[in-house]
Each structure stands twice: as C-alpha cells, then as structure tokens.
C-alpha cells in the first residue's frame, strides 16, 4: 500500500498541490550483546577475545557429528539478570530453535536461537537523549524480546588467493539478542538508547560491551512515512561498530530515504551496511534474497524452565528468578536520581556523570575523601576541565591514565589556594603526558605555585598599571569592565600564577580614585 502512495506522489504531479505533510522517521534497534562468560553457550570451550585462530573450539562448536548442546547455566542467569534490569517478564518456560542457512562460518548449517518462546519479553527502557546543542530529554522504547542464541564463526576472505578461511573461535559464543520496538525517531535517540544499554549491561557485568571487539553489535531498522500514513518500507543497517556510528548511520539513512522519495524513487526492503570510513550506508549484495530459515524446535535441548516463585532459591536443576533479582545492582537511572537528591546536582550534571562511569567513580570517591571541597567545584572540574580535556584529545575517559587520586590532589591544591585554576588545568595535561609523576612533584617541577605574597602582587599590579594606561583611564572614568584588561596583564606578567582574587583586591585598592 505504501509503495503505491509513494509512486503516485512521485509520478503524478497534480498531487504535488495538496498540502505537504510532515515526514516522520521510525527507527527500531536489534542489539546482539555477547554474554560475559568463561565458556560458550552450549559447549565448554573458552571465550577470550583474540585467542589464536581456531584455538577455542569444542567438538560441538565445529559441529562434529554426534555432539550435543548443553546449555550454560551462567549464560541463562546473565540473560535473566539483564531481562530483569530491563523490566522484562521472564518466561517460566522458554525454548530453543534451529534457524537454518548455509554459510561457511556456520558449521551446523543452523544457528540455535530462541524464536518461538524467548527467555523474556515485554521490557522497557527509558533513557536520556543527549543531542549537542539541544535540551536533554527522556525517551522510552519497548523491549519486545530478549533471547539467547549462539554466535557464528568468522570468515576471512583472501581476494588475491581467492580463498576463504574460517575461524571458529567465535562460533557458539553466547549472545543475548534484544529486539526493541520501532519507538525511536532519530539517530541520536538510537545512540542514546545504546549508550544507556551499555551502562546497564556493564553494571550487571553481563556484557563487556566492547563494540570494537564485536561484543555489542547493533542493527537498525529504519523507515520513513508521512504523518498519518502507515509505516514505510524499512531498510536494515547492519555492522554499526560504535555508538557514534549509530547516530551517524541512522541519520544518514533517514536522509537517504527522504532524498530517494523526494527524487521520486522507491525505498526497497534491503539490508545495508555502514561504511564508517566514507560515512554512508551501502546495500549488501549477498543479503538481497529473502531467506526462509526453516525454523524447527531444537530437539536436543529440553525446554528451559526457571523458577518464578517469589522468595525461591536456585537449585542444581532450576534457576530462581527471585534469587537473581537480589543480585541486581543500582541501575544508572537510579544513580542519577540519587545524585540529584543527595548532592543537589542538576539533572544534566547527573546525566553526564553517570554516562561516564569513571567520572562518576571519581566524583564519588573525591567527595568522600575531600569533604572540605564543595561538590560543585568537584563536578565542575571533572566535567568542564577533565572531561573536556579528554574529549579534546578524542580520548575515552576510561583510557586516560589520570586517576581519582591525581584529581583529588589537584583539587586539594586548588582549594588550599596553593595553585589556581589555570595551573589546575595545566596539571591535567602534565599528568597525562607524565603518567609516572605525582601532582605535588609536577607543581614543584613546573613551578606552578600560586603567588599570594601581597608585596609581590602589589609590584606586579603596579607594573600592570604602568603597562595599561588606557585601561586605567577607562576604569577610573567608571568603566568597571576595563579592570579585566589590567587583571589579564597581571596574569601575563606572573605567567598565570598570581592569585587572581588577591590581584583584583589589590588593583581595586590601588586604582581607587583619590579622595577629594
């Protein structure tokens, strides 16, 4: 139906006269999260990333005839914890199915997944959406399904030798597939959802969320439609490898679809991949044919039962959902609310702190150990100075060698007026470049102590007054802002080390108009 609408719109110019309706974009996500586990979903082989090729392969993973799957309890528990944290209904009985397709890195010719009866359904995620330059708002997306499934191996193609090689280390790794309803509208919303999901999974320790290792993979379904119309034909964008790419890929794809329609084209149901280098989505050739996966119940795994009774305990045969729910830690949104309540932070500040777990850790530990410094000074320094520095260098906060102790030492010196804010900022850079040297040493080494000596400051001020006669004149005529120029001169003369509070006091005293 939607096809015909688009076609008519594009081929019958008369219709162009009808009032234009607004286009809407609809985005849904499917996330594959690798469950953090020592062994695979159905076999005992290891899961470490970067192991030598084909070294973590049990007979089952290579589909050696006669081998059977045995479900890894730890993975079931992780799946349940995740489901609970995302507000899902955990199903008392879930089942495994075979999904058939031929691919060289799929040794069995089928993937074991949960199609008919998943581990959990009906979850919900509410998360803050951060768009640069816009006000933060909260968005909610339904989580339709959370299912357990095994990963495939990896194919490596050698175009020159015309050979394909297969690495089965990944084959059989445990995955949680999270299928979200198409409740989102923009790339930023999608990126924010994933960002929040990462925070949750990391708190639960059910997934490392290292996207660069493929531990978290995101596919996006995208369509556009005019207001009041049913949903449009969707495309699926696969292989999105970073949170930033999610936003970019989806924004690109929405715009591509809008342009296609504007030019009279038609959106086809296809799978596209994100080309991060050229920042565009491209159609994937081998996925064009609609597959019939010939789903069938996995006969070698009995239905997976869990105990839903409140207050129950886990036994050897049966995992208790109630017992697992106790193990769920504080979730990011709870932390934000706690921060707002406990430290009177603005919600935006709480969001920034929680979104960077390291920053939050620093904030909490510095607050504990340095109670004399006002909270505001701490988070301002963390966000405006430390985080900004990391962002400027395009450095992940968790990859930065500067630890909470370093920042605490800086703040201690700052608060004790031993150094000024400029020096504090400088120290971040110095610490980053000299990770083995302590804060105190760096202050001495680079002579960063603040100048507080009144005589010294008065001398500097006198010099500045001499250097800035024009500003002095303006100031004395009543233009109070002119004082900044003189203060700036003092800063320059003191190599940014003068205590500005004292400088201002001193200048005001010196430049006070003579009594009549």
């Amino acid at each position: 139906m939607h096809y015909s609408i688009i076609r008519r719109l594009s081929t019958q110019p008369k219709l162009a006269n009808i009032p234009k309706r607004k286009w809407k974009s609809v985005v849904g996500l499917e996330v594959h999260a690798q469950i953090a586990s020592a062994s695979k979903l159905f076999s005992g082989s290891g899961t470490s990333f970067g192991a030598p090729l084909n070294s973590s392969v049990a007979y089952f993973d290579a589909s050696i005839p006669g081998t059977l799957p045995v479900v890894n309890r730890k993975c079931v528990e992780s799946g349940i914890k995740t489901a609970l944290a995302l507000g899902c209904r955990v199903n008392e009985v879930s089942m495994f199915d075979r999904k058939h397709y031929f691919y060289a890195d799929l040794p069995n010719g089928y993937q074991i997944t949960q199609q008919r009866a998943a581990l959990a359904n009906n979850g919900i995620m509410t998360f803050p959406v951060i768009t640069p330059g816009k006000k933060v708002y909260y968005k909610t997306a339904k989580l339709l399904q959370l299912q357990l499934e095994q990963d495939s191996g990896k194919s490596l193609h050698d175009d020159q030798l015309k050979r394909s090689l297969v690495d089965l280390n990944r084959a059989g790794l445990p995955l949680m597939e999270l299928v979200f309803a198409p409740d989102l509208e923009t790339g930023e919303e999608a990126a924010s959802l994933v960002k929040e999901l990462i925070l949750i999974l990391r708190r639960l320790q059910t997934c490392s969320c290292k996207m660069e290792e493929g531990a978290l993979r995101v596919d996006a379904n995208i369509s556009i439609n005019q207001e009041g119309d049913p949903m449009g034909v969707r495309t699926e964008v696969k292989n999105i490898g970073s949170v930033r790419s999610i936003s970019q890929a989806i924004t690109y794809e929405i715009n591509r679809q809008l342009e296609t329609v504007a030019e009279g084209g038609v959106i086809t149901n296809e799978t596209r991949s994100w080309d991060a280098e050229n920042r565009r989505t491209v159609a994937m050739r081998d996925k064009e044919v609609l597959q019939d996966y010939r789903f069938m119940p996995e006969p070698n795994l009995p239905p997976l039962h869990v105990n839903l009774k409140p207050g129950s305990k886990s036994t050897e045969d049966l995992v208790s959902v109630a017992a697992l729910s106790i193990e769920i830690p504080e979730l990011p949104e709870d932390t934000r609310q706690r921060l707002v309540a406990q430290y009177s932070l603005k919600p935006e500040t709480a969001i920034i702190l929680v979104n960077e777990p390291i920053l939050l850790d620093h904030f909490l530990s510095i607050n504990r150990s340095l109670s004399e410094v006002p909270t505001k000074v701490v988070y301002n320094f963390l966000i405006n100075d430390f985080l900004t520095y990391c962002n400027k260098l395009n450095l992940n906060v968790e990859d930065c060698s500067i630890n909470a102790e370093d920042i605490r030492d800086i703040l201690k010196n700052l608060h004790g007026e031993n150094i000024n804010l400029q020096a504090a900022r400088q120290l971040i850079e110095l610490l980053h470049n000299n990770p083995t040297i302590k804060v105190q040493e760096l202050i001495d080494l680079h002579n960063l102590q603040q100048i507080c000596n009144l005589e010294q400051i008065e001398a500097l001020c006198q010099q500045a007054i001499t250097n800035q006669p024009k500003a002095v004149q303006q100031y004395q005529k009543g233009k109070s802002k002119a004082l900044f120029a003189i203060v700036g001169e003092v800063a320059k003369l003191s190599a940014q080390k003068a205590n500005m509070k004292i400088v201002v006091e001193c200048l005001e005293k010196l430049l006070k108009p003579p009594k009549k």
């Binding site: 589909s63 005839p65 045995v70 058939h100 010939r294």
Partner: protein
C-alpha cells in the same frame, strides 16, 4: 563347535575368572569367526589390534583378580553411527567415509570403562535411513538364517542396525550396540532371531550417536538372551552431562528375578487390536496368539486394548523424520570434515557438489522433503500438525498404561515386531525405501513416538526356518517389568539363537 557361545555373559566371565578361557583366546576366536563369516557383511570394519589389546588388558585384570565388572573381556560390536575415538565412523556413507571421530560416544566409553572388548564397527543403512541394511556404501548385510548365502536366495538382516544383529546372531560377539529411531534395533533383531532392546528415551545417552531423528533416537542393545541384554543395559544406562535429554534421575541397576520366582498373576497384558494389520503373516499372527495364551495360562490377565492413532503413526514419523534429517544433514558441507568435492569455484558450488556426491538418493530425498515441510508456509500444515498427532499417539499409550480406571490399565503390550519373517533380498530390494520402511516399521515406530521402551524377542521358527519374533512394550522407565516378562517368555519358548549354525555348515 564353539561351546562357549552357548554361555551367557555371566557364565563367560565366570570362566575367565576361573581361568578356563581367556579373553585373549575368545577375542582371537571372535576375530577368526568374523573373517570366516565375511560373506554376511556384518562388519564394515574390524579393529583387531585394539580388540586384542583390550583383551590382553582384561586378561591381566582377571589374573590379578581385579576384573572391572560384568562386561570385562566380553566381545561387543558397535554400529557404525556411534563415534569411536580414532576409528573411522562412516554411517555407511560416502559423506563420512574418511571421518575419524576425535572422541568416543558415551555408550562406547562406558563399555570400554567396563572392560568390554570392542571388535569393530557394524554395517547399517546409510545414516540409519532404512529397514533392511541394504542401502549401505559397503553393500547389504545378509541374514545368517538365509536358506543360502550365495546366489540371490538370501534373506535381509533387517535394519537399519542389520550388521549388529547379524554379528550377534552369528555368534561373533556376545552383544552389540545399535540405534533405534523407528525400529532399527528391534526390526533386525526380529529377523535375525536375537533379543533387541529399545530402552526408554533418555535412559541412554545419545552423545556420540550420529543422529537420525534426535527426538526419537535411542541406542539399542542386541544380545542372545535377556540376561545378557540386562548386563549391557546396566553398563551403559544412566544420566550423561553431555546429553541434556538424558533422564537426570540416577540409574539403578536392573536385577531380574529367577524364572521360577516370576509371578505373572499380577501382570496385565494388553493386545492392541490396531497391530493386527494388513500384511501381517498368518505365522506371525499365530505366534502372537500362542504367546498370549501362554501368558494367560500362567496367570497373567490378557485383554484387548485399543491404540486408535496407530495407523497415523507412520505418516507422522515420516514427516518428523524428514524434517529432522533435513536439519541434521545441514552440517555436512565438506568444510570441517566429511566428503569434500573438488569443485571449489565458489562456496555454494563446493557445498552443492560435496552434498550431491556424498549422499545417496534416500538421504537426498529426505532432505528435500524435510526442507519442504519446514518452509514457513508449510510448517503449520505438516510439522506442527505431525507434532500434534505425535502427542495423540503418546497419549494412546498413556491411556492404556495409566488409565484412570484401575481395571482398564495394562502393564505390558504384546505385539508383533515385524509383520513377516525376513524377506528375500531380491523381493525387498524391489520396493522403494519409503515402502520398505512404512511396512517394516509399522509395529515398531509408535514406541519411538512415545519414547517408551520396547523389546523384540525371538519365539520360534517359521516354515521357512526363519525366526519369528514378538515385541513387548511398557510405560516409560518400566524396563524392570518389561524385561522380566520377556525373560519369562524366553524361558518358555527356549528359542536357540545359534540354531542356524547347523543350516550353515555346508556354506562355511
């Protein structure tokens, strides 16, 4: 000639313990017999070196008075669809002709652990798809009861575990392992005149059994007596962490009462009327009613029962079988193991060619049909519907075994195993694989649908001098009573599984 063959396993191991006979000597004789009886084509591969080594080890244990258990030094053959570490396991197919498993099936490792001597791997229909052991890469297995073994007047051994049945019937080994998906153990047991047990689904581990239909496959046991069958069962049964479908409850060894201690007065026998079917030979029918009479005379209550969905069973079996086959066979792509064609122009071409060359027509047909049934548009109409009817069939059994009215309840069902004695190869080979299975599995496959245990026991000889057997079935995990009744019948009918040796003297 071979006096020891008349012994049962307990007598054999007692003679080892007394030093009368050595496992080494017995194994040598067994290997010699296997060679002499090569014309049967019971084995696809003998493993003399490993067998003699195992026998040697066993001998030492007996000399040290520390035998491992009831099967120490007992010769056993294994169907070629059970993985055996370091020994090719082919499923009698070109696809797995060169496949050497890196591990032992649980059944094999438990037998080894108990000290059994594994003689070799036995013939079968390719991937166990058949009821005659005629569709093997290595050629058909012959029935030792045949009027003649040369020319074209020889009888089939039944299938798909024909090699195992044949090896036990010929006295080459004391017991053999087969598999049973729709009757593949009981059918050849019936034709070859030996005991064939299909245990409760989940009582024996399938780990290492190359699957046909995962939800119905069970390892089966061939022996020349119920007592030997129980000894093997006690060794291999019980939970296995490698197979999630095994019953978790710890297995308790079966001990059957002595014949004179068996009291049939509390046993209720059911005769399901639907098993009196088209094509049932008068001789089998006569055997059936004679044994029923025998039981009744001994005090058992015998009455007719109805399993109304029996006739649907073969169709349901056919659909489920083909669907699982299509899925299970998907792994054979020539990449990790198995036959790989030389055509490497593309991955798809390599798959297609490897599979085209590696599978026979029967396998290919089932893959094609199974995939058709599993298509999204067909799934509900075929697979889902078949599952529903399967439940009805299982409920039929439950209704007679666990009837709400105590009076309606029976403990054991008595039926034919096969409809006739062993067919001539030339008659059997003329039928399509579909017809071969549909006719031959009629009485056996319902037990696989329901997962219940069933045993085939030889009763007497037909006019052609071939074994006629009957089947007993019980509710799940009631092997104790099932085999007790079987043992009682065995004692009454005194069938001699080795009687054929007289027939064969001229050809040997």
């Amino acid at each position: 000639m071979r006096r020891h063959l008349q012994w049962n396993i307990k007598q054999l191991t007692a003679s080892y313990a007394e030093g009368q006979l050595s496992p080494r000597r017995l194994t040598e004789l067994a290997l010699e017999d296997a060679k002499n009886l090569k014309t049967l084509n019971a084995f696809v591969r003998l493993t003399p070196e490993k067998a003699l080594q195992a026998a040697e080890d066993s001998l030492k244990r007996y000399q040290n008075k520390k035998p491992k258990g009831t099967l120490d030094g007992v010769t056993i053959a294994i169907k070629d669809n059970f993985c055996t570490e370091g020994i090719p396991t082919t499923c009698a197919s070109k696809m797995l002709q060169d496949f050497v498993p890196p591990y032992d099936a649980t059944v094999c490792s438990r037998l080894k652990k108990a000290g059994a001597v594994l003689l070799g791997k036995t013939n079968m229909d390719q991937f166990a798809m058949g009821a005659g052991t005629v569709d093997s890469l290595y050629g058909p297995t012959k029935n030792i009861w045949s009027e003649e073994l040369d020319g074209d007047r020889w009888r089939i051994a039944g299938g798909s575990s024909g090699g195992s049945a044949s090896a036990v019937a010929a006295g080459i080994c004391y017991a053999a392992i087969g598999s049973d998906t729709g009757g593949s153990t009981r059918n050849p047991a019936s034709y070859c005149g030996v005991v064939g047990l299909k245990p409760t689904y989940g009582l024996l581990s399938r780990h290492g059994l190359i699957p046909l239909v995962n939800s119905m496959d069970v390892p089966g046991i061939f022996a020349r007596s119920i007592s030997d069958c129980v000894d093997v069962l006690n060794t291999v049964a019980g939970p296995d962490t490698f197979d999630s479908t095994t019953i978790r409850k710890p297995y308790k060894n079966l001990t059957l009462p002595e014949i004179d201690q068996i009291n049939l007065s509390t046993v209720r026998i059911g005769i399901p009327k639907e098993y009196h079917c088209e094509g049932l030979s008068p001789e089998v029918l006569e055997t059936w009613s004679k044994v029923a009479d025998l039981l009744e005379c001994a005090g058992a209550s015998v009455r007719q029962v109805s399993l109304p969905n029996t006739a649907a069973s073969i169709f349901v079996y056919s659909i489920l079988n083909q669907c699982e086959v299509a899925s299970n066979m998907a792994r054979y792509d020539g990449i990790e193991y198995g036959h790989r064609a030389s055509d490497e122009r593309s991955t798809e071409q390599l798959y297609a060619q490897s599979r085209a060359e590696g599978f026979n027509e029967v396998v290919k047909t089932r893959i094609l049909t199974g995939n058709f049934f599993l298509l999204r548009k067909n799934y509900d109409h075929y697979f889902e519907k078949a599952l529903r009817v399967r439940r009805l069939i299982a409920e039929d059994f439950l209704k007679v075994f666990v009837a709400s009215q105590e009076d309606d309840r029976v403990d054991i069902l008595l039926t034919p195993t096969t409809l006739t004695d062993a067919p001539l190869y030339k008659d059997f080979a003329g039928l399509t694989n579909r017809d071969q299975c549909a006719v031959q599995d009629f009485c056996t496959q319902p037990a696989n649908m329901a997962g219940i245990p069933a045993v085939s026991i030889p009763i007497r000889l037909s006019q052609s001098g071939l074994p006629l057997s009957l089947q007993l079935m019980s509710n799940s995990l009631n092997e104790q009573l099932l085999l007790t009744v079987a043992r009682w019948i065995e004692a009454q009918v005194e069938f001699d599984s080795l009687q054929h040796r007289l027939n064969l003297q001229s050809t040997l």
